[in-house]
């Protein structure tokens, strides 16, 4: 009897813990605008109309979930802060004026997805059916976006995917997804190019989170490393909730690796970096996904020194109009400096690439509505498919082939590394590509 009860309790415990993981029920409320400063004239302005506006005003509802709790909280909140800044700026600038005199303004409906796929599917269904969202922005992270994309496609909604780099979601016949990030398969290409010039003999270990995003990065990375003649001495995945990286680091050291490429998201990446430092793994170069791109990363102290990341955008290497002219592409939106100044005024923090991604997600939708001269989803979809612009965030151009519809084609990444400035403070410097680098790579980081 007692044993049977123990068995029952065992099952209950596991079920309860799973429920517990989904526990924190945040209040479902529309997102409050984050910024406090009025938009500047350089902000994405409303389109000029030659005729005085007719009084008609349309409010476009944009729906998305954000991870206010759970594993994706840090990056997700930044993405939402960027989006909110864009929305406040465009609304305060008077919205978008269409040629028929209609003024388009925006409102957002958002819920806490708790970093859980199940919640994402439930909430995106709600956003579409109950809140009647006109357009969708993706949640943060590839895993959550994959879950949201199914609901969006089923309901024929357009979804700008901001914080989702994984390639697969665009290769399943979807027609409503439009990706802003450089695809995961190309994520570490710049880093490998840099290594090729720094140390072509480097022995590479790939240690990554076992999730959709990191796995897609590795799938693109491995063949490119081999093509460039690098020896891969270790490839290892770890579970998302891993906290003890001791055994992995021991494997890494045992493999004779001199360079580590890998990581996943903020919680695991920051933990991994700290333990690599504590255990004096003796690597010449460490590049981790996502975590080192966040402004929280220096909280690790000296463990952050020398850790590099592939970044979708860095203020120090922000794109500009001259670049756009040289490429023959039309420039759109504010400069990186103006965007950063507005964000800093609103939050007192410097923007990361997650913030920029959220902001540009709104800006791309704005541009598509302007180009379509309509908020009709089909016309907006056509405008997105035809889009080929250049912004402070970089190029925006989507694949329109049935094989990879919506995949980002133009955007490119930089490599950033935490270094110390003259005052001994940790700062994130751009170290690659060489033409936009703000500092030389710190290589080797630690004596091997």
């Amino acid at each position: 009897m007692k044993h049977r009860f123990l068995n029952l309790v065992g099952v209950l415990v596991v079920v309860s813990m799973l429920l517990g993981a989904c526990a924190p029920q945040a209040t479902e409320a529309p997102a409050p605008p984050a910024a406090t400063e009025a938009p500047t004239t350089e902000a994405p302005a409303a389109t000029e109309a030659s005729q005085p506006p007719v009084a008609a005003e349309e409010t476009v509802v944009i729906g998305f979930t954000s991870s206010l709790t759970g594993a994706q909280e840090v990056s997700s909140k930044r993405q939402v802060a960027g989006f909110n800044l864009w929305m406040e700026q465009v609304n305060e600038a008077g919205g978008i004026q269409l040629s028929d005199g209609t003024v388009v303004k925006f409102s957002a409906v958002t819920y806490d997805d708790e970093s859980a796929k199940e919640r994402v599917q439930e909430l995106y269904t709600r956003l579409i059916t109950e809140d009647e969202a006109d357009f969708l922005i993706s949640p943060y992270s590839s895993g959550l976006t994959a879950a949201a994309s199914i609901v969006a496609e089923q309901n024929g909604k357009i979804m700008i995917t901001a914080g989702a780099a994984e390639d697969d979601a665009y290769k399943t016949g979807n027609t409503g997804l439009f990706q802003l990030y450089t695809p995961g398969s190309l994520y570490l290409i710049s880093t490998v190019d840099m290594l090729k010039t720094l140390d072509p003999e480097a022995k590479v270990a790939i240690v990554h989170e076992n999730d959709k995003f990191s796995t897609s990065v590795v799938e693109g990375l491995k063949p490119y490393l081999e093509e460039q003649g690098f020896e891969i001495v270790l490839e290892e995945g770890y579970a998302t909730e891993t906290t003890d990286f001791g055994p992995v680091i021991n494997k890494l050291v045992e493999s004779g690796a001199t360079v580590l490429l890998g990581g996943g998201h903020y919680p695991d990446g920051s933990t991994f970096a700290r333990q690599l430092f504590e255990r004096k793994a003796g690597l010449k170069f460490i590049s981790l996904l996502v975590a080192p791109a966040d402004s929280k990363f220096p909280e690790l102290g000296d463990a952050a020194l020398g850790v590099a990341t592939s970044s979708q955008w860095e203020l120090k290497a922000t794109h500009n109009e001259e670049e756009a002219s040289a490429l023959g592409k039309p420039w759109y939106g504010p400069t990186g400096e103006d965007f950063a100044a507005a964000y800093e005024a609103a939050t007192t923090e410097k923007p990361t690439y997650h913030v920029a991604g959220g902001y540009v997600a709104g800006m791309v939708l704005q541009k598509a509505i302007e180009d379509a001269d309509s908020i009709d989803p089909e016309k907006v979809r056509a405008a997105l498919e035809a889009m080929d612009i250049f912004t402070f965030y970089g190029g925006i151009n989507f694949d329109t082939s049935p094989e990879a519809h919506g995949l980002q084609l133009s955007h490119q990444m930089v490599v950033a590394q935490w270094q110390k400035n003259d005052a001994g403070e940790l700062v994130r410097e751009v170290i690659w590509p060489a033409d936009v680098a703000t500092a030389d790579p710190l290589y080797p980081v630690h004596a091997p």
Binding site: V13, A21, T69, E236, G237, P247, V253
Partner: protein, 288 residues
Amino acid sequence: MQQLNLLLTSLPDGILLGFVYGLAAMGLTLIWGVMNVINLSHGPIIALGMFGTFFLFSRLGLNPYLGLIPVAVVGLLLGILIYAVAVHRVINAPHLSSLLATFSVNMIIIGLGTAVLTTSPYNVDFSAGGFKLGSATILGTRLIAALVAMLFTGGLYLFLYRTRPGKFIRAVANNRTAAELMGIPSTRVLALSFGLGTMLAMVSGALIATFFPFSILAGGSYELKSFVIGVLGGLGNPIGALFGGLVLGMLEGIIPAFLETSWVPVIEFALFVVILLVRPSGLFGAKQ
């Protein structure tokens, strides 16, 4: 040969970590052993211990090991409070009631913690150095944590077997009705037991915070480990929990030498199910 070397490198780490896992599990299993209550608030209580270290060290500058004293005291009092508010009224009700009561406490702590502390990771930037033992790196924080865990285990053993309140606890665990007939104040003993279990959970959390980053949700994985350890060592057997912790810690050191690290939780929970099916009283026997 390479795998053997890897095994020797990772094993000390696993063993040291196992002591701390064992300490966490001891809190859970003590409560089960004395009052047949599965404490589902165990995980968030571990997380509160982590935040105890964070605030005492990062905000007040107190050495994390000295900080264990206030953490332990708060843990004891918190446990008594939880018992009085949530557990006492359902102590004689069907097991599902106490399960739901402690689950509610779990939800309350996580909800409050999320509102106040968010779920962002926190980091205690503390180092106690380290040294090489052959090819293995022994981190000072883990070594001290293991020693503290042993100290607490020894202390608990002495308390249970050498003191009057400890004997009361064992008497109540053995037969509550008989203990009451002998004049033992069972309510106070149960509250003390819950307090001790909570104290052990918070102290283990406080130790874990010295080497791993954490959030208010971080206790969940240690709670699950505590259940595996509890079942492994024998639910209700606090000393068995320490050995269960060592077994789990060693597994975490051994498995990555032969398989990908992501197999660790799979094997741990497979073991949990196997032990439940084959030897539900655990490797070291259930409560005595």
